[in-house]
């Protein structure tokens, strides 16, 4: 799982995709997940990282993460596996 090239994320959660010209806003948790993805972390590593810092159950987190990654795919922000 990789972010598309050239995607810029600002410190306050503003994401710009130069491929489409679209802008997005992220909340704190969304911002952290995007950061971890861009660092090349796997899904398991992302979950581990968040559970260390935040008070959240792993089942719930898995659900939210699946949903969030689906949104990133929907918004065309992730590289396809074969790329």
């Amino acid at each position: 799982m990789k972010l598309k090239k050239n995607i810029a994320v600002s410190e306050n959660g503003f994401l710009f995709d130069p491929n489409s010209g679209e802008s997005y806003s992220l909340n704190k948790t969304g911002q952290l997940i995007v950061k971890l993805i861009s660092e090349g972390k796997s899904e398991a590593e992302i979950i581990e990282n968040i559970m260390e810092k935040y008070d959240v159950e792993s089942n719930a987190l898995q659900r939210y993460l699946d949903d969030f990654i689906m949104m990133l795919q929907q918004m065309n922000l992730l590289q396809k596996e074969e790329d």
């Binding site: 802008s23 997005y24 806003s25 992220l26 909340n27 959240v56 918004m75």
Partner: protein, 452 residues
């Protein structure tokens, strides 16, 4: 180290569209309590979904409406429109406030009598009055609002048999300058049909014409339409005075006042655009005072307002069943309130909010009901906070029509709870169950046995 509070991750596309020039607030305010009773407590005690009615809101709204009219015109009489909400407890709140009953069927007539309304204080409207209904109405001295000539002739033939004089009014339809022009109820004013009907009633010794009625439409946003209607009814009243030296006891302006709900496709929210009771009262009583009706014989003003009196008092509480993603990435929220419980969602953008907000982020959301039907949509597009299974939602302003036009479909209808003036909750209608639903079914003998 103590862990941080978690918020679920959210990403939203930024749409640089036209800014909202009206600067309306987009922040969602949760509703956690109704008349100081916690939504969570109501749902845990009475189940979900649940209809909740505020007695305080009913009485306050009624008094506000009455005062708007009484401060302008002394002779005002409201009649509670049964079809808007005929739960017996609700009807009796209005009757305690002094409202008569306005019914449109034999079923509603029986309900009003059983609630203790004297027959002489029941207004009988509607196009469907059977022979038995009419006989009973004549016997009770009720006010029969004649809808068409067939009904008029029926009363003409029935009244002598009862030995009582039928107290009647005619329903008049007219052009009040608004669209749509309702011409299906009663006799037309402009083409002279109403005058013809009056001329048939007046000489009949078994009928007494005591009033005139009109029902110009529903959700009327233009108070001036009522001024026009009042002027036209007043003109007929004067004509009757001149020709027959007969003085009508009342003019009934029907219902149709808008509530603060927002109609689908409306540019501004109903809470901003809905006329006040004062606006309607000013239009109607102004036209009445300026009419040529003889001062000593000014008629009583009857009003059959339903929607505007009760909509605000009703709430529908429910729970989130699931979250899903639609094909285009939009969130879909499935709740246990369907269009079977919320008939008015076909024409209103209902105000729906969570009972509490855990996280401020909102997403483009479609809110679906639980029915296995594609049309079961509560809100097609709304910015809504992300809720989880089991969270609760509150829909405001559902007091009008939903507890009469509700459909028993796929599942049982839920309980209705009334919160009284002391903040105490009373079940005023039980939920349906297997026994109550099957009580009316009959099984022919040859179908009793099945083998699979």
């Amino acid at each position: 180290m103590e862990k941080l509070k978690f918020e679920r991750p959210v990403i939203n596309r930024i749409n640089a569209g036209v800014p909202d020039k009206f600067g309306m607030s987009t922040a969602i305010q949760p509703i956690s309590h109704i008349d100081d009773v916690a939504v969570e407590d109501l749902l845990s005690e009475y189940g979900s979904p649940l209809y909740v009615i505020s007695e305080k809101s009913i009485r306050n709204t009624f008094r506000e409406a009455l005062s708007a009219f009484k401060t302008r015109y002394p002779k005002v009489q409201f009649a509670w429109s049964y079809k808007t909400n005929y739960l017996n407890a609700v009807c009796n709140i209005y009757h305690q406030e002094g409202s008569w009953a306005e019914v449109v069927s034999g079923f509603e007539f029986e309900k009003a009598l059983a609630n203790g309304v004297p027959g002489s204080k029941i207004i009988f409207n509607g196009p469907d009055k059977s022979k038995e209904d009419l006989e009973r109405a004549i016997e009770h001295g009720s006010l029969i609002h004649i809808d068409h000539f067939d009904e008029l002739y029926e009363i003409m033939s029935l009244a002598p048999k009862t030995g009582k004089k039928a107290k009647v009014a005619i329903r008049v339809n007219m052009d009040t300058g608004i669209y749509p022009h309702w011409d299906r109820f009663g006799f037309n004013y402009e083409n002279g049909e109403a005058w013809t009907a009056i001329n048939k009633i007046m000489p009949d010794p078994n009928m007494e014409l005591i009033g005139l009625h009109t029902h110009i439409g529903t959700y009327i946003m233009t108070p001036n339409a009522y001024a026009i209607a009042t002027s036209k009814l007043a003109a007929l009243t004067v004509r009757i005075q001149l020709k027959y030296n007969h003085h009508l006891k009342y003019l009934d302006l029907g219902g149709g006042f808008a509530s603060k709900n927002t109609l689908k496709g409306a540019y501004l929210p109903g809470s901003d655009t809905c006329p006040t009771f004062d606006d309607y009262a000013e239009a109607i009583t102004g036209a009445l005072s300026n009419s040529d009706i003889q001062y000593d014989h000014m008629p009583t003003l009857f009003l059959e307002t339903g929607r505007a009196l009760i909509d605000d008092a009703g709430y529908l509480l429910g729970s989130v069943l699931a979250n899903k993603r639609l094909l285009d990435g939009r969130r879909s929220l499935i709740i246990d309130i369907g269009v079977n419980n919320l008939f008015t969602s076909f024409w209103y953008e209902h105000h729906i909010v969570p009972s509490k907000i855990k996280q401020r982020d909102t997403e483009d959301t479609t809110i679906y009901g639980p029915l296995c039907m594609n049309i079961d949509i509560i809100r097609a597009a709304i910015q809504f906070p992300v809720l989880e299974k089991g969270d609760h939602v509150v829909i405001k302003r559902i007091g009008a029509y939903n507890m009469t036009q509700w459909m028993q479909f796929i599942t049982y209808r839920p309980k209705v709870v009334l919160i009284d003036l002391e903040g105490k909750a009373h079940v005023i209608r039980e939920n349906e169950n297997h026994e109550s639903m099957n009580a009316l079914d009959k099984m022919p003998n040859h179908l009793k046995e099945i083998q699979l």
